[in-house]
């Protein structure tokens, strides 16, 4: 393979461009990170301190943002008064449950679609993807009616099922691409070596692990951040973090402090997950694109 160094010529134009790009990156970082910083800092502030703002144009007044005595009382409100640990658990179960179920059924279906030829295969595959073409809101009402008649509204299994409905086609679609990239010869060799069909399937799972990892993350993100399903199908017994946070906005009293703390509680686990699985996510999402 050729070296990956990009040959660099230090012309004046190049120097100007590189300075400009650094400036751009700085602004971009401020733009994307500032909301998180404000959220994080504000969650530790008393309400009065949180709304202390410097006058417009008073750059020296920026220090005001950081003049406060840290307090954990918003977090106490969340967990002691508002039962947030329960909601967090609901979120975890709903997201994790649907991810696990989708990945099990998704990999089996994707494997079959990738390996077996049968009549109407391309139609079936298109039909599976097409279920993701309609926006969620469009199917919300009929879905709600079905779920209500099955007594699934307001239950965690109901919420898991709802997320799986939407994650499974996605899983099949992503994972099929990964299976397509694994040469069939590997399974044939396994079978001649003495493996059953199912053992041969299992033996190539490590080769699609990056795909499965990437998919699990995307799946969990979808469920964790979802508001619509959670508000309608999960409402009542299976309240998740976004719904609970929304309920902190009450007509006569918007609990800014608690909302900020809820934001931190909701964001932090996903950031952590992202850090842990970052390597997988990147190789996973690019591996399908580049053929060895």
């Amino acid at each position: 393979m050729a070296s990956r160094d990009v040959v660099h010529y230090n012309t004046p134009l190049q120097r100007v461009l590189s300075v400009l790009s650094v400036v751009f990156v700085i602004f971009y970082l401020i733009w994307t990170l500032l909301p998180f910083v404000i959220m994080f800092v504000s969650s530790f502030k008393d309400l009065l301190e949180a709304f202390k703002l410097p006058a417009v144009g008073d750059w020296a007044g920026i220090g005001v943002f950081f003049e406060f005595t840290p307090t954990l009382k918003h977090y106490q409100t969340l967990f002691a008064e508002n039962n947030f640990s329960r909601y967090m658990l609901n979120s975890l179960i709903a997201a994790g449950g649907s991810a696990v179920i989708s990945v099990i059924f998704g990999s089996l279906a994707a494997y079959s679609l990738s390996r077996v030829d049968f009549r109407g295969k391309s139609d079936l595959f298109f039909w599976i993807i097409s279920t993701r073409m309609a926006p969620v809101v469009a199917v919300m009402v009929p879905l709600f009616a079905i779920f209500r008649s099955l007594d699934l509204v307001g239950t965690l299994p109901g919420l898991i099922l709802a997320y799986t409905t939407f994650n499974l086609p996605f899983a099949i679609w992503i994972l099929k691409g990964f299976f397509d990239n694994v040469p069939y010869g590997i399974e044939e060799a396994q079978m001649v070596d003495g493996a059953t069909r199912f053992q041969a399937f299992r033996s190539i799972l490590p080769l699609v692990a990056p795909g499965i990892g990437a998919f699990i993350v995307l799946c969990i993100l979808f469920a964790w951040n979802d508001f619509l399903f959670a508000a309608i199908i999960g409402s009542g017994g299976a309240k998740t973090l976004p719904v609970a946070t929304r309920e902190l906005v009450q007509p006569q009293n918007i609990q800014w402090g608690a909302i900020m703390a809820a934001g931190v509680v909701t964001t932090a686990p996903m950031m952590l997950l992202g850090l842990v699985i970052r390597k997988y996510l990147v190789t996973g999402l690019t591996m399908g694109a580049v053929k060895e």
Partner: protein, 364 residues
Amino acid sequence: MATVTIRNVWKYYGQTPAVKDLNVTCPDGSFVSILGPSGCGKSSTMRMIAGLEHISAGDILFDNQRINDLAPKDRDVAMVFENYALYPHKTVFENIANPLRLRGTADATIKERVTGAARLLEIAHLLERRPHELSGGQKQRVAIGRAIVREPKLFLFDEPIAHLDAKLRAHMRGEIKHLQRNLGTTMIYVTHDQLEALSMADFIAVMHDGELQQWGTPSEIFNKPVNAWVAGFVGEPAMNFLTCDLKRRGDDVVLSHHNFDIPLLPGQVRQLNGAAQAGIARMGVRPDAMTVSMTKPSEAAIQGEIFVNELLGGDMLVEVQLADSRIRVKTTPEFEGKPGEICYLTVNRDKWHVFDAGDGHAYF
């Protein structure tokens, strides 16, 4: 160890037949080579034996047991794939150990057998590497290691050394042959390289367009080809073919061409069976069944003009222009003829062949 019987086997992909009515019996412990050009159905045959491809019609038997409906894992064969098909995420050790692991062999035995196989194949120092850290030759040895680590009934090698460079290929030919001799396991070895088949096999099955052309020992295939196609495919440099007339002259039958009239040997006349004693035929003669000289050695010599000389190391190949075609003859590097000069060819009539001009079958 097993006798493999392939009986009236057909393979269809959709409507196109890839293997047509194949009948072959591979004796127990023999080294059988399936030889044919690319696309003639060699791999299809192999994959039907291994159980990776449905048998469209016919039966395959191992020791008189019909195996058509057995899953690959129950056939007890070991296969080396054309593209090696190693497990990319496993070390060399685990690749070789895989068939044993799948059979639940004890760890101590696995270690012993894998290191044994690795030593035999001279890859013992590579056991901790992964396939992408190996050269082509090393990968191929690992694939063979995976096949020989247990004692299967049958080895199936599908062009295992086709991708190696010439020198390594020559080396591996000897090694594989030696290995099969020592293990005594029946081997079916697919190749498109006639030299590989001739040098390694006990028996060769020559295939063309999905049909078996000839079954025989290497010397039968080389010296008594059943038709012009086999004669032309086997042997390097290839056999020369000339279209001639068969003419009766007294008690003799002569092979008559613009440049020559040569009588057949008496035994060969009998092999013509009367029917073809007059008419067109194709004469075939290998480059090493002729001699070339600059002076006329006898009346029967064929006169031609030297077209080009090729020096091939220890041999010289002279291409001679006749009236309507060129033929090649092998001689020694000391040969002094120059292109454009007149030369004379003498055919060793014991080693020439005459084929039917229509279907190409050999009279002798």
